[in-house]
Each structure stands twice: as structure tokens, then as C-alpha cells.
Symmetry: C2
Subunit: 320 residues, 2 copies
């Protein structure tokens, strides 16, 4: 079992680097902090790396301020562990800390993982890397404390859309149950993660919904967000995240699209499919990419022209 | 153990009535259908009662069309079981079917339950009545089939806000895990329950968010929905449900309020608290009621006057 080799390497090492991916999400940060917590308990010297800042919404997690964004000069690690990184490029500026490990481990759940480390613990049946870290914790220290449990709960909850996405398994629920028994305050965490909006975001959402337009017998839904919308409402770009789902989640819609005007007057588009259509192909038309159900692209043109081109391509995709 | 007595009574009975509450939700319908499924398996004759129609969103559950809204003349039952009803009044027009039972059982999880039956299986630690029905199923038939599992998953998921509310326990997650092992299609069900909106609802949400107004340093948030909003968008009254949460879930808000103009030109108000304020008291000012964190009232005045009065009372509540 690869997990036993991972445990053995951790037990043998003294000086350990943990590296997670750029633009970190709940699974990246939660998994890293939980693993760091286990290593702290074992008395290891742990350094945490992430190129980008921890999102404000995750600042409730203990240890969130331990991440540094680039390697100290000439640091050497007995062991470097990449967490939730499907390939080395995902580490961004922190890749040197991974390379500096005498032994390297890759712990991840993405199907696109490239098996780039000495030891690759990749479980694509896990809904979140947090599930794999949970198993490591049970082997390594047996007794998971509340801080680590809340970090892992955050990892799994965010990657499963609060246990609602199709990637959720009975294992996800079983681990959640054990984490709750370790002291997770569900109400506090879910309020922070899902039920706290800045008024600016809600004002932007109102604008976004008003822009919603349907085409081709409601099979295509497009939301537009202009610079004016962002400026007038005071919302941040990051607060646009997930708004494309309001387009996707309408009865009958096959392609949900969000078009966002960027600061330089060009456009970023997000595409979501409800199953039949492969929106990675739609994104590909504009030099973008992604997956069957979720993709994106940048268009070097103004928002009106971009909308026209996207709508035309989307119409072709649905066979209109 | 009361549950053993419930099992014994079910085993002895042949002709059984199940009654759930008016304006049924996912827990009411899901719990009833799962219990009916167990009783079918045992070869019992089962009649399902509910005063009001099964909400369209729950029509994917097998057996949803088995409910009748009033008792057949002079029916007599060996056993009548009230499901998810905190008191007899909750059965509405179906109460006679409960009274017609030679033996009566009350299965519920509400703290306000009045213990009105011969046998009262009330577990207030259960997040949903579905959790109690699950335990009965495990005792009664051991092997829960996919239909019953999906009914119970729906019951528990809807009463816990997809496993995110403070009422969720490790037991909720453990039961969900077992239900998934019984064949629940999580993606299909959560898409139906949470990710399918009519365009009319989304248009109304856009209008509702545009009406959002904040007062007293953002401690009070009010959303207004007029008849014009409903008429212009074509949304149904039932689609307003939960929109008050957009007001409540804004950072800093202590009282979230939704004011809805009714067909006769008066007003229905919903109040939500983020903890400190007891909004049952706010509702009480207008002859309404509810709980600490969620309440409502009807105001026999026009919407502008109602908003003024509500805002004034809310200001007093927060000590402004």
C-alpha cells in the first residue's frame, strides 16, 4: 500500500515542506493545514508553501498565516509533499520547495494527475484531497484534534458543494461523521463558508441576474457583468465566482454562460454544461479550455462583440 | 425502548394509515414514502394521507401520487402513524384518519411535539424525522431498497440544508453514508432539489435583490416583493421561499426581513435572525410568531406602511 510508504517517509523525516497549488481553495488550504497539524503533533519541523494568498473566507482556519510564497534561499528538506496539485506547474513560485525535497510525495485526487513525485498517493475516487489526508491522519496520529478536523471538514465540504455534488461518496459522509465526532462546529463553519455575503456581492448578483438573457428556446443562458457593474456595486472580481451557476441551473438550459468585462476592456467567459454539451469544445473555439461540464476562455474583443461570437458558437454547439 | 414497541405494533397490524403534515416538505413526504415502502415490503395494506399536494420538486420520489387528502368514509385502521407532526393540528383535514387508528403512533423530531399518541417516538436529537424512519427500517426489514433510500436521503438532505445546518450531527452523516450504499444517486437528487430553477424564479430573485435596502449600519436588511414583481416575472408565491436568506446572509446583518405584498393588498413578512435578536418577539409585535431565529407575521396594511412599521420595530429590537 502506497499510504504505508507515505507514513514511513513522514516518520523518518524531520524537516518537511508542504506545497499546495496557486489560487488555493478550501481543499488545498484545509488539507495542508490538517497535514501540518499532524506533523506538528509528531514534532516535525514543517514549512507551508503557497504562491497565492489564503482566501479571506478561509482565514478562520487555525494556521492560515503559516503559508509563505517562495522558498528560503538554499533550503533543503528531508521530505517535500505536494498537496492537491495535479502537476508541478500548479505549485507556481513554490515549485523549488518541492524540488528541494530529498524525497518527494504527491498527494492528490485529480484524474489529471501526472505522477510527478517519488511517491504518488493519488486516489481519484476521493471527493477531496482532504479525504486522503484524513486517512493519513488516522494512521499517523490516530487522534485528530478539533483544528485538524475543522480544516479537513472545510476541505471536503467545499470540494463537494456541502456534500451535494456527484463526486460525494458514502466515504465522504463517513469521514464527515468522524470529523464531527472530533469536534467540528458545523454551524459555525458552514455559516462562514456559505452564508456570509458582502452586500457588494449581493448588489452585483442583482445586476447579474437582471442581465440574464435566454436564447434558443431557453437552451442557452447568458449573464453579462460589465466594469460598470463592478464599479457601481463595489464588488470584487473574486465575488463573481459561481454566479455562472445561476445561468446553468435554470430548467431547460443546456449551456450556462457568464461573460465578464476585464479591466483592459476585453472579456473572460465561463461556460457550464448540464451534461449533453461538451463546453470544453466551446471554450476551445476561443483558445480556452477546461472540462466537459466547465470551461473558460479569454476573448480579445469588446463585450458586445464577444457576446455575439459566443452566442453564435453556442448555437452551433446545441445544433440550432 | 419505544422503537421496539413501534416495531411490534407495525408487525401486528394489517391495515395501516400514515398521516403527515399540511404544507408538506421533503422530510414529511420522504419519511412517509420510505415508511410506506417498508410496510409494502412486509405486505401491509397502507394508506397515505396529506391535506396538501406534494410539492412539484418532490414528484421525482416514487409513490408521490399515493397521498389522499381526506379519509374514506368510516375507514378503520389497525394502526395510524403520524409522521413529522408536532401536534394533531398539523394533520389538518387528515386528522380523522389518525383518530381512526385502534392504536396511534407519533413519530417526530420537533422539540415542540405534544406527545398526542398512544406511543410517542419523539427524538429531538434527530435532524430529520427521516433519521428515525431509517432506524425503524433497519430494524423492520434490514435491507432498504433504492426507492426508500432516496426518499430518506431527500428527507434528511432537505431538513439539514444539504448537511450544512447546525442540526446536522455525525449520525446524519452516518445515515447518509448508509443510504448512499443503498443506491442513492446523489447528483440526480441534489440537482432536482437544489440546482433546478424556473427562469421566472430567477427573474423574481433579480427584482428582490434590487429592492434590498440596508438600515442602521447594515444591521437590518429588507427585501420587498410586490404584486407587480410577481406579475411581471410570472413567478409563483412558493418560489419566494428562502429569498429572505439573501437578506439574512449579508455580513453584519442582525435581522433579515422579507416583505411580500399579498393578493388582497396586505402584507406577509418573514423575519430571520443571525443569533443575537429574538425575531419571534419582532413577529409578536404584529400578532405573528415563530422561533428565535425565524418568524413571520401578517400585516393588514399596504406595503409602504408595513415597511415603515416593521423597520421602526426592528430598530427598537436592535437597540437603535
Amino acid at each position: 500500500m502506497i499510504i504505508n510508504e507515505v507514513i514511513r517517509q513522514i516518520q523518518q523525516a524531520e524537516n518537511i515542506a508542504l506545497i499546495t497549488h496557486v489560487q488555493p481553495d478550501g481543499d488545498a488550504i484545509g488539507s495542508c493545514l490538517a497535514l501540518a497539524n499532524f506533523l506538528d503533533t509528531l514534532g516535525k519541523k514543517v514549512t507551508l508553501y503557497c504562491q497565492d494568498k489564503v482566501p479571506p473566507v478561509l482565514e478562520f482556519l487555525r494556521g492560515h498565516n503559516r503559508f509563505i510564497d517562495s522558498m528560503k534561499d538554499n533550503a533543503v528538506y528531508d521530505l517535500s509533499i505536494a498537496v492537491d496539485c495535479s502537476d508541478e506547474g500548479r505549485m507556481g513560485t513554490c515549485k523549488p520547495a518541492f524540488v528541494a525535497g530529498k524525497v518527494t510525495i504527491n498527494i492528490d485526487h485529480h484524474v489529471s494527475n501526472t505522477f510527478y513525485a517519488d511517491i504518488n498517493l493519488v486516489d481519484t475516487s476521493a471527493a477531496a484531497t482532504g479525504e486522503i489526508i484524513f486517512r493519513i491522519g488516522m494512521e499517523l496520529i490516530h487522534n485528530i484534534n478539533k483544528d485538524a478536523a475543522e480544516a479537513l471538514y472545510t476541505a471536503i465540504s467545499t470540494d463537494t458543494g456541502s456534500f451535494s455534488y456527484g463526486n460525494t461518496t458514502s466515504q465522504s459522509y463517513r469521514i464527515a461523521a468522524q470529523l464531527v465526532d472530533c469536534g467540528v462546529d458545523i454551524e459555525r463553519i458552514t455559516t462562514i463558508l456559505y452564508k456570509t455575503n458582502r452586500i457588494e456581492r449581493i448588489r452585483l448578483l442583482g445586476r447579474a441576474l437582471n442581465s440574464l438573457a435566454l436564447y434558443e428556446n431557453n437552451k442557452i443562458a447568458i449573464i453579462e457583468i460589465t466594469r460598470e457593474d463592478l464599479n457601481d456595486t463595489g464588488a470584487m472580481e473574486s465575488e463573481i465566482e459561481n454566479m455562472v451557476n445561476y445561468a446553468k441551473n435554470i430548467s431547460g438550459v443546456e449551456i450556462g454562460i457568464l461573460i465578464k468585462e476585464t479591466e483592459d476592456g476585453t472579456v473572460k467567459a465561463s461556460f457550464r454544461s448540464n451534461g449533453r454539451i461538451d463546453v470544453s469544445k466551446l471554450a476551445g473555439r476561443f483558445g480556452g479550455g477546461g472540462h466537459h461540464a466547465a470551461s473558460g476562455a479569454s476573448l480579445l474583443m469588446d463585450i458586445n462583440k464577444a457576446k455575439e461570437e459566443i452566442l453564435s458558437a453556442a448555437r452551433e454547439m446545441i445544433g440550432a
